[in-house]
């Protein structure tokens, strides 16, 4: 039954199916929209807002917005990219991000996104410098929420895939922080094999595996080799996109 239709992203005609989000349609076409909170396999939630696009004139998060027939979407433009740089800058200033000493450096999606978006200049925003205690109680992982970007990936993975609820937020607004179901991580049911604790769930350096830090040499780390998002761009290649002018 699923009749496909077309959406127009920055002038390129992209095929979409009913029920697909804008991001899903673009991913399938090899067009990468930057994102931090969305990850393959978990329900999208639209919290980081880095995937903001203008859908028929209205700003929406591409990861949650259904694609609609003939929608005109603005994505890779100066104004959208400025918003994205502002958002990533906010996250970099909200937590403590001193990359050279961070175990996640090189595979961290926040850092990689900053590079991809060209965040290199200094800016006028202050640093908030959280001082939250480390949780090193668990034999397998250290939890350092001072780098948390509130993407909820660990919360959703634990809930949706592990059938547990190891993580949840407490507090609200700028006081919001990640908490665990117990006084410490060691009191929770987090264990080896949990999807929530696996590589690639926490996009930054909050959930750090004990005993094997800094094991990948510089030059061979995930984002040493390519920009974040290239795996999507390479999947089907942007070359097979037809621009409308070309049609």
């Amino acid at each position: 039954m699923s009749t496909t239709f077309t959406i127009h992203v920055d002038g390129a005609a992209i095929p979409a199916r009913p029920g697909q989000t804008i991001m899903e349609a673009c991913d399938a076409a090899g067009l990468y929209i930057p994102r931090l909170c969305d990850v393959e396999g978990l329900a999208p939630q639209g919290s980081c807002r880095v995937c903001t696009v203008r859908d028929n004139g209205r700003c929406v998060s591409a990861c949650t917005q259904p694609a609609m027939p003939e929608a005109v979407i603005e994505h890779d433009t100066e104004s959208m990219n400025r918003y994205r740089r502002d958002l990533v800058t906010m996250l970099l200033h909200e937590g403590n991000h001193l990359c050279p000493g961070c175990e996640a450096s090189g595979r961290c999606e926040l850092q990689a996104m900053a590079y991809r978006l060209g965040i290199t200049d200094s800016n006028r925003l202050p640093y908030l410098q959280p001082v939250r205690p480390l949780d090193a109680s668990h034999p397998l992982w250290v939890l350092d929420t001072n780098r948390c970007i509130f993407c909820s990936r660990c919360i959703r993975a634990s809930r949706e895939q592990d059938g547990k609820n190891v993580f949840e937020y407490v507090g609200r607004g700028i006081h919001k922080r990640l908490a665990v179901n117990g006084n410490h991580l060691a009191d929770t049911s987090a264990q080896e094999g949990d999807h929530a604790m696996s590589d690639g769930i926490c996009p930054v350096g909050c959930i750090i595996r004990k005993g094997e830090g800094f094991s990948t040499p510089i030059g061979q780390r995930r984002f040493d080799k390519h920009l974040i998002g290239e795996e999507i761009e390479n999947k089907s290649g942007r070359s097979d996109l037809s621009t409308e002018e070309a049609q």
């Binding site: 919290s47 502002d86 996250l91 006081h175």
Partner: protein, 664 residues
């Protein structure tokens, strides 16, 4: 003497009973938490563990809910007296700082700190819906109005003497406020009754007329009347109703939004006090029109003093067959209403966050689409309307859509309730036709020396004299009805600062731009207030505001930069007079002393930084610190951002020590 074990068992029993009272249903978490807190004074981790067990959930989920709402405490303190002082700008202008100081002195406690010695706590809280009788406070949710230092002292002494809160001396309440079930010293302050809400209405005439029409015909009437939502957004009511009615479902819900959290708004308070039967008639008609059989009245905790009264009216209606099965003899029309008490969160006025709260969750907005009318409360089609919107329904059905459409303007039909407060001689509620000019309102209210008017509360627009000719309607200045008047003595920048702090405190924290961006915007305002602003700061404030508005997930973030943007637009001199030129090539915004001070504090007092623990209770925010606006050290250290700690510099330090630092 009770043993510790006996005390624990007692608490556990209370908690288990609370859960049982709501069938161990996690979606009734708000009610369970209120029940526990009322009995024990707070909800600690032991209680959370028991609640999680009983409701088949996780402790951290319960903690997530408790910590989201500002009126839930994680510290059990039986018999505690909690005093919430209204910190809104209107109350500040009316002298709440002096009142706060008297409370602090007489009680011997600081605001925001708990003392083990006496079971009394002092807190700040945003607008409690009493701006027309400021300064005001809630003491165990009982309102006390028109406070003076003398009155505060008498109240504090009575509390210390052990007089129960319901026996504290009060002035006379106006209208229903003096009824035994309410019994508070609140004034109604209805200054101008109009054609819709405060005109005579024959009870049930609207409902009976509706019953003679089909549900679709009722929706058509509302469409013809051109009624738009009174909660702020002005969305056509019929569209929402149509969507809910035509979405196939076994259950549908009608929710009345009585969260009234926008600073400076209090007209719903008056409707709930004097016109609750009209509201319930409106909800019943709405239920008939969309095919709903269940209704919820979401009542903000600040209006908890009306809870018993409203419950009593609901009971009466059930007794009279106006709620329950086959209402007014109409077969197949069953409808009932329950009251859901909020717990202190402005964001819960946003309709999807309100639904999250009704479901017993953290009050976070939901992803849209789907919209509540398609999939709302527990996933069922849900209509959410403001109190005032629902109160207009019976009149429309009773007197006809033509009559209603003839009031107001082309695109904004009907009358509107305005909550007028601030520098005027007749603060209170005015029912006026939509389209009235700001100037006319000022004349009515006696706001003769107005310099600025905040239209629509914190999220609205601050306008100056040049714009007083503009009209209040959806085509020009849309508003949920808050009109705050400021005379020439008021410091507009500190008003902007307060509103930004309000948004920082009330952001739910779900999305990046609102959670973080508003903190930066607030800090930028503080920088300018301290005289450290440079010309470029204005431009970066504009940019930041644009990003927050464009990328935020809900209406809170879409409007939170408005205080900054509208004051920049209408009062540019307020900013430019404080902006410094770059002198001698120095960056004006850079405060060398401050930058060094932080570093010095770290070097000299490492322990303070390293031992900082996350505290659940807000840190000490002293009365004067929180109100004066301009700060000695950055916001973060002061406004109780518990886990963002900037070390304070000890002012008693020997200055020569700094010399050493600089030399070494």
């Amino acid at each position: 003497m009770t043993t510790p074990q006996a005390a624990t068992d007692y608490a556990t029993d209370i908690v288990k009973n609370a859960c049982r009272q709501y069938n161990n249903d996690a979606s009734r978490m708000m009610d369970i938490l209120w029940c526990v807190q009322d009995a024990l004074g707070g909800i600690d981790t032991d209680a959370m563990t028991v609640i999680a067990q009983q409701t088949s959930g996780y402790r951290v989920e319960v903690e997530g809910v408790v910590s989201f709402y500002s009126f839930f405490s994680s510290q059990p303190r039986p018999q505690v007296v909690r005093i919430y002082l209204c910190e809104d700008v209107i109350d500040q202008h009316a002298g709440i700082a002096e009142v706060a100081a008297v409370f602090e002195r007489t009680l011997g406690i600081r605001i925001g700190q708990t003392s083990a010695d006496i079971p009394v706590e002092l807190h700040w809280t945003p607008c409690i819906g009493l701006s027309d009788q400021a300064p005001a406070a809630l003491i165990n949710f009982r309102p006390f109005t028109r406070l003076t230092p003398d009155k505060a002292e008498a109240l504090a002494r009575a509390i210390l003497a052990g007089i129960a809160v319901h026996e504290l001396p009060i002035g006379e309440g106006e209208g229903n406020n003096s009824k035994p079930l309410i019994n508070v010293e609140v004034a109604n302050n209805l200054r101008l009754p109009g054609a819709v809400y405060f005109a005579p209405h024959r009870p049930l005439s609207g409902l009976d007329n509706a019953g003679r029409l089909s549900p679709a015909q009722v929706r058509h009437e509302i469409r013809q009347a051109g009624l738009r939502g009174r909660g702020g957004a002005g969305y056509p009511v019929w569209k929402k109703w149509e969507a809910a009615a035509t979405t196939a479902s076994e259950r549908r819900f009608v929710i009345c939004n009585a969260d009234e959290g926008e600073p400076g708004t209090f007209k719903d308070r008056l409707l709930l006090t004097e016109k609750a039967d009209l509201l319930f008639e409106g909800m019943t008609i709405a239920a008939y029109a969309v095919g709903a059989s269940e209704g919820i009245l979401y009542l903000r905790a600040e209006y908890r003093y009306l809870h018993a009264w409203l419950n009593h009216l609901l009971l009466e209606r059930r007794r009279q067959g106006l709620l329950g099965k086959a209402i007014r003899g109409m077969e197949n029309f069953d409808f009932d209403i329950r009251i859901q008490l909020g717990a202190g969160a402005y964001i819960c006025g946003e309709e999807s966050a309100l639904i999250s709260s009704c479901e017993g969750r953290r009050g976070e907005p939901k992803t849209k689409p789907p919209f509540p009318a398609q999939a709302g409360y527990l996933g069922y089609p849900t209509v959410v309307n403001n109190v005032e919107t629902l109160c207009a329904i019976p009149a429309i059905l009773s007197r006809g859509s033509q009559w209603f459409a003839g009031l107001g303007t082309e695109q904004s039909s009907g009358t509107k309730l305005l909550s007028v407060s601030g520098d005027c001689s007749r603060p209170g509620v005015y029912e006026v036709p939509l389209g009235i000019s700001v100037k006319e309102v000022l004349t009515l209210a006696g706001g003769v020396d107005a310099q600025a008017v905040q239209v629509g509360g914190a999220s609205g627009e601050m306008i100056g004299v040049a714009d007083f000719g503009r009209s209040l309607c959806f085509e020009d200045l849309p508003t949920a009805g808050a009109i705050m008047i400021f005379n020439g003595q008021r410091n507009l920048l500190s008003i902007v600062h307060y509103f930004m702090r309000f948004f920082v405190d009330e952001s739910c924290g779900y999305c990046t731009p609102c959670r973080v961006g508003n903190v930066f915007l607030l800090q930028a305002v503080e920088k300018i207030m301290k005289g450290l602003g440079e010309a470029q700061d204005i431009e970066s404030m504009r940019q930041l505001s644009e990003t927050i508005i464009a990328t935020s997930r809900c209406g809170l973030g879409h409007t939170s930069p408005n205080p900054v943007l509208s004051s920049l637009k209408h009062f540019p001199l307020v900013y430019s007079s404080l902006i410094r030129e770059n002198a001698k090539g120095m960056q004006a915004g850079f405060d060398l002393e401050q930058a060094l001070a932080t570093a010095r504090a770290i070097v000299r007092r490492p322990a303070e930084v390293l031992q900082c623990e996350v505290r659940l209770q807000p840190a000490d925010a002293h009365a004067s610190d929180r109100l004066t606006g301009v700060l000695a050290y950055p916001l973060i250290a002061r406004s109780g951002l518990d886990d963002y700690t900037v070390p304070k510099v000890d002012s008693t330090d020997d200055p020569s020590a700094h010399q050493e630092d600089a030399e070494s």
